[in-house]
């Protein structure tokens, strides 16, 4: 607990720096990553983040120490080379996207490993700092690193916000942008540069292997909560910043823990919570919505069946007869009838089912919608009367009262449907 207080009150200036740094870079990479996620190029980020390793090593070899400027430049150049090669291979060979990305990723990483082992054997004492780039160590961010990494992160955030229109055009409809005269090639180039920069500044804290998560997961998680780009970016940034701070805290409390894996674990936690429990799009809410819809369809069908019986002049409905009209579904039908009785639409009088007033008007509404829709298809779409039933069978559960009113108006309150059956209304005596 005292660790918690010590960490979050920022008594230690270096902790404050680390937290500012990880927040900025988290937001920066979440912004870039969200765009590339929307562009369906999420794994390109993975390729770039593996591909910066040789650049880091070369930068280190040239500088002879862990100099942030050399390392950032080296990482940027090798990331750029990987991005260029990916698009060159895509347009010049018949290899599929995933084979290209996986090849570039592993080739660059392999080359990086070669350089890393060469440095290791050279016995440079600064070598220990280099291993941090593989799994990340946010605690090791120093004040002078912060100015470079933080500055680049701010640059990314500002560029993406200032040119939001251009970048959204790039990911949603690049051809449209081209046709109205925007230089889409240049915009894509700038976007790729920003993406490489985001990876380059992220590796210090997260590490090359796991950097992909910081690009992909925030956008994917935030996509479940909203359909608006502005909100999407904000939510993604928030997820990323919070997991960054939590991951840093864990590696502060347990010193030998690298930061990267913990940030990824927290980020994935947010992502899986979003996938499961997000309203509307989450697995759970879609499951509930589906159950609700199925229940409503079943109820509608039973009400309709009883109403059709009433139309033919049948006056009493034994429950067994209803079961028989839905063969092999006795248990389901019983459950549905129980539900209908509970919501006061049907009554069960010693095994004989009958409408309540409310139930009758509900049944009429469903049959009315069905027949109105059949008539509409027949009159306005010129579809033959024997082809309209299936569509009406689906839409009778969905049509809203507003649509019903519109249909009634358009068809001028008709009496008969295309099959010459009466369209029931509430004030009929049936």
């Amino acid at each position: 607990m005292s660790d918690f207080v010590y960490f979050f009150t920022f008594q230690d200036a270096s902790i404050a720096f680390v937290v500012i740094g990880i927040t900025l870079l988290g937001i920066g990479s979440a912004y870039v990553g969200t765009y590339s996620f929307l562009d369906k190029k999420a794994l390109l980020g993975d390729a770039i983040s593996h591909a910066v390793l040789p650049g880091i090593c070369l930068g280190f070899m040239l500088a002879g120490e862990k100099n942030p400027i050399y390392i950032v430049t080296g990482a940027f150049l090798s990331g750029a080379l990987a991005t260029f090669l990916t698009s060159w291979l895509k347009s010049n060979t018949r290899l599929s996207d995933d084979a290209i990305i996986a090849s570039i990723l592993s080739i660059f990483f392999g080359f990086g490993v070669v350089l890393l082992t060469v440095i290791q054997k050279s016995g440079n004492p600064e070598m220990a700092g280099l291993n941090q780039f593989i799994f990340g160590n946010a605690i090791a961010i120093l004040e002078e690193d912060l100015y470079i990494y933080g500055g680049l992160a701010v640059l990314i955030i500002i560029t993406l916000s200032a040119f939001r229109k251009e970048f959204s055009m790039l990911v949603f409809n690049a051809d449209f942008g081209k046709s109205i005269g925007y230089p889409m090639g240049a915009i894509r180039l700038i976007f790729n540069v920003l993406m490489i920069l985001a990876v380059v500044i992220g590796i210090q804290a997260i590490g090359v292997v796991l950097m992909a998560a910081l690009l992909i997961a925030p956008g994917a998680a935030a996509r479940f909560w909203t359909d608006k780009l502005g909100k999407l970016l904000l939510i993604a940034g928030a997820f990323s910043a919070v997991s960054g701070i939590m991951g840093t805290f864990v590696s502060f409390v347990i010193p030998q823990m690298p930061t990267g894996p913990w940030v990824v674990v927290f980020l994935s936690l947010f992502a899986f919570i979003s996938f499961l429990f997000a309203p509307k799009k989450g697995v759970l809410s879609r499951f509930i919505a589906r159950r609700y819809y199925l229940k409503k369809t079943n109820q509608d069908h039973i009400l309709k069946a009883i109403f059709h019986g009433t139309e033919k002049g049948q006056s009493s409905f034994p429950i067994e007869e209803i079961y028989q009209s839905f063969p092999y579904k006795k248990r389901e039908t019983k459950q549905t009838i129980d539900d209908l009785i509970k919501s006061n639409l049907l009554t069960n009088n010693q095994g004989f089912i009958d409408f309540t007033t409310k139930g009758k008007s509900e049944a009429k509404r469903i049959v009315r919608l069905h027949r109105l829709w059949e008539l509409y298809l027949n009159e306005y779409m010129n579809i033959a009367p024997d082809h309209v039933h299936d569509s009406a069978e689906k839409l009778e559960h969905i049509l809203t009262p507003e649509l019903e009113a519109l249909l009634e108006n358009r068809l001028n309150f008709p009496k008969l449907d295309p099959h010459q059956e009466t369209i029931p209304r509430d004030n009929d005596e049936l």
Partner: protein, 298 residues
């Protein structure tokens, strides 16, 4: 150069590993699942660590079982995210493997004193120490390097798998729907292939490291794909490339004194990029009306 037994053993093992990986990689590439292979090779890490912890040694069957289970789990999570949660495929792959790999690294750090496994071994492998790591029977008789036996066993199993399921694998790789229509269990075949990939990853991971296995899975088939259009010659070329990479990689690494596995991948990369340069679709300057060639679907 005189015959060096250690060099021979290392090259032999490396060739065997790259052939097993290449054989599976061909089918992964044809199914456009190269990135899934990448994901699996990252995702088996927690399984390996838990297996190490349970069995207390690297030789335990638990390691292979643990990794196999994790590989299948990763495939299932990716499919679940894609089909049930409606996350787009690239993002489901990215989220799954980073999470599992992160868990693996955390486990290694938590069990640092109980498990003889470090982050570097995971990354680069230790094929250079192969001649020292001997399989010694209970009677104290040395049978030769342990990893070589593992690699041979792996190659035999992979070959049997592909030999038995060659027709099914080919069919479902090119036209999964047709396979389903004529009654092949395409889902089960897919899962079986993924299990083989996980098993190969584990078996090779001590030698070449978890990440470089991906390179051996992906790069030789991709290179061969640039040169040929026939499946049989694709497989043959992949195997040849695997052997070439092992030999050239070993001597290059010897020359600059670096990681052998890393150098094998670097050699593979050079061959791949060179092939791409040679076989690239050149703009036809002489015949102005020609259209660019569309990439093949399979």
């Amino acid at each position: 150069m005189s015959f060096d037994q250690n060099a021979f053993l290392i090259i032999l093992t490396a060739s065997i590993i790259s052939i097993s990986c290449g054989l599976l990689g061909v089918f992964m590439m044809l199914r456009k699942m190269s990135m899934t292979g990448d994901a699996i090779s990252h995702a088996v890490l927690p399984g390996i660590v838990i297996g190490f912890f349970v069995s207390g040694s690297q030789r335990g069957l638990e390691v292979i079982i643990g990794a196999g289970l994790l590989g299948i789990l990763a495939t299932l999570i990716i499919n679940w995210l894609k089909n049930k949660a409606k996350v787009q495929l690239d993002a489901s792959i990215g989220i799954t493997f980073t999470l599992l790999f992160a868990v693996g690294i955390i486990l290694i750090n938590m069990l640092a004193y109980k498990v003889d496994l470090d982050q570097e071994c995971v990354l680069y492998g230790e094929i250079a120490y192969l001649p020292i790591d001997l399989w010694i029977t209970k009677a104290g008789f040395s049978m030769g390097p342990r990893i070589t036996y593992l690699a041979v066993l792996n190659l035999v199993l992979v070959s049997i798998f592909i030999f038995l399921l060659y027709k099914e694998l080919t069919l479902t790789s090119f036209d999964e729907n047709f396979g389903l229509v004529i009654g092949l269990p395409a889902g089960a075949i897919n899962l079986a292939l993924m299990s083989m990939v996980s098993y190969t990853t584990v078996s090779s991971f001590e030698a070449v490291g978890a990440i470089l296995v991906v390179a051996l899975l992906v790069v030789p088939p991709a290179t061969a794909f640039l040169w040929t259009k026939k499946l049989t010659s694709l497989i043959k070329l992949t195997c040849t490339l695997g052997i070439f990479i092992a030999i050239a990689g070993y001597y290059m690494a010897y020359l600059v004194d670096s990681s052998i596995a890393g150098m094998m991948v670097a050699v593979a990369g050079v061959v791949f990029l060179g092939s791409a340069l040679v076989k690239s679709i050149k703009p036809n300057l002489l015949f102005g009306t020609s259209t660019s060639i569309e990439p093949l679907e399979n």
